[in-house]
Symmetry: C2
Subunit: 151 residues, 2 copies
């Protein structure tokens, strides 16, 4: 992991559809070296995959919510049951066990409030062992996710 690898990762996070020649050019290396670097970053599982980025609004998903969830019990089995349920629901885009007041933070994308209500009823409220939930809605996105910093 030298500076060229880092700038390569930055370039690939920004746009992975560019040709190796272009990438090589922008990071200041030869095509073959660039190709080799990408292959070894993949082999090292630093690059875990490639993905298309979608516009949520054009997909009809205008409502983003972060939901903080507290469990009634922090016992191992309660957490395992909760987490197994989370894995089932496709509407839960992301879930982290966190420090702080809430036990879990969950991310939801919905079409609108009505759809969020539906997700709330048919998914969030079915999660087992929940003591309390607090939802925050994203009114506006100030900064969108564009990959990890590479230093």
């Amino acid at each position: 992991m030298d500076p060229i690898d880092r700038s390569l990762l930055r370039a690939l996070q920004t746009d992975s559809s560019r040709s190796i020649a272009e990438l090589a050019d922008s990071v200041g290396a030869s095509s073959s070296s660039c190709h080799r670097r990408i292959k070894s970053l993949e082999a090292a599982h630093i690059i875990t995959g490639y993905s298309a980025l979608l516009d949520p609004v054009r997909l009809g998903l205008k409502l983003h919510a972060f939901v903080e969830i507290t469990l009634e019990s922090q016992s191992r089995t309660a957490m395992e049951r909760f987490e197994a349920a989370v894995a089932q629901f496709d509407d839960i885009l992301e879930c982290h066990l966190t420090s702080g007041n809430a036990d879990y933070i969950v991310r939801i994308a919905a079409r609108d409030l009505e759809h969020f209500d539906k997700i709330h009823r048919e998914c969030l409220s079915l999660l087992p062992g929940v003591s309390s939930m607090r939802s925050s809605f994203a009114i506006r996105t100030i900064k969108r996710w564009k990959g990890y910093p590479t230093g």
Copy 2:
């Protein structure tokens, strides 16, 4: 946007490095139809780009934090100043204006607590007009982001 487009978007979010022939196969369409569909999804800006996915742990980023930030004032200028500052800092990966108690929710990735402290001092504490901040650390990721649901 028919069911084939939807399953194509799902496939492209999961793995955009597959060839068009493979994708066509998995969604049950011909290669040429699949190719045309991808081009029009790009032209419609439903697909906004392609990106490499990185493993944060192997990048040395073991600490994820969600920081809830409240401003002293919700005046237009206070918010604009805050948001302009957020845009400057590369360590802020994501930022949303939210409903609920906190005004903003911000996402941070750091190497460790020491690095987070550094980010806290050199970035978060420099944000203008902040009244209070509450940090939650991700202890464990239950479900990782894998793209938007496509229905």
